[in-house]
């Protein structure tokens, strides 16, 4: 008995929600980025699973979207971490609760 598409979707939903938990409950900017990366990985797992279980696996569309999504996630991580370092240089903190200068 091999795993069905449903099980893969449940695992990727769990991964997405763990990422959401990290992004919403953490105070540290780097960990908010880690949570966003985990949510993106959950979406990638969905793309690959739908490609594998589709009726036309000759077209590698899901694989292509996953590859492009990984490239975009890498660009996002680079810019995000550069922002964290830049914010740290100005305010000497990476705690997002203390970055409230724009708050009205």
């Amino acid at each position: 008995m091999s795993p069905t598409l449903q099980l893969f979707l449940i695992v990727s939903a769990a991964l997405f929600c763990i990422g959401l938990l990290a992004a919403l409950s953490r105070r540290h900017a780097i960990f908010i980025l880690i949570g966003i990366e985990m949510m993106l990985a959950g979406a990638n797992l969905n793309f690959i699973a739908f490609w594998r279980f589709s009726s036309e696996p000759h077209q590698p569309t899901g694989v292509m979207i996953a590859i492009f999504s990984i490239a975009i996630a890498a660009a996002e991580a680079a810019v995000g971490l550069a922002l964290v370092i830049s914010v740290y240089r100005h305010y000497r903190t990476t705690n997002v609760d203390q970055l409230d200068q724009l708050k009205g």
Partner: protein, 160 residues
């Protein structure tokens, strides 16, 4: 596809992900993040997308995890530990998880077994990337260049 391998990889990945989301020490959480991505790459191998699994290992464990560890080391003076946990975030995450699980279990057409497919070779991926997907490929190249330049500008020292 082997269901024992599936269960082992699922438990491994989700446990490492939970550790990355909740561990208090920053460095431990960053290392569990890397372990989570090993698990996701294992899922890609299980699903027959070996190339994407290898790209995942190279990009996330080789580059992003190292970048995160470097950023933690560079901003270390601030806080060694991540104090304070926002419980409303946990409630929202559990509510979203419940909604997603409800939608997945309610959809009847999802409980299908995997069909037999021919192996997806790197040759085929290269051919498709250079014919059907050549414009997205160029756009991603442009995006990566712009992100590189933007990241460099962001971290450059400001002249007084």
């Amino acid at each position: 596809m082997n269901s024992v391998a599936f269960i082992v990889i699922a438990i491994f990945t989700l446990a490492a992900g939970l550790a990355a989301a909740t561990l208090q020490k920053l460095m431990h959480a960053a290392l569990s993040f890397a372990v989570t991505f090993v698990g996701i790459a294992a899922f890609f191998f299980l699903l027959g997308a070996e190339f994407v699994g290898l790209v995942q290992v190279f990009v996330y464990i080789g580059a992003v995890a190292v970048l995160i560890v470097f950023t933690i080391l560079l901003t270390r003076r601030d806080v060694e530990k991540d104090r304070g946990f926002n419980w409303s975030g946990a409630f929202i995450a559990i509510a979203v998880f419940g909604g997603l699980i409800w939608a997945i279990l309610k959809t009847q057409s999802l409980s299908v077994a995997a069909p037999e497919i021919p192996a997806l070779t790197v040759k085929r991926i290269g051919e498709v990337l250079m014919t059907n997907y050549v414009w997205p490929l160029q756009c991603v190249g442009l995006l990566l260049t712009a992100a590189l330049v933007g990241a460099l500008i962001l971290v450059m020292e400001e002249k007084q």
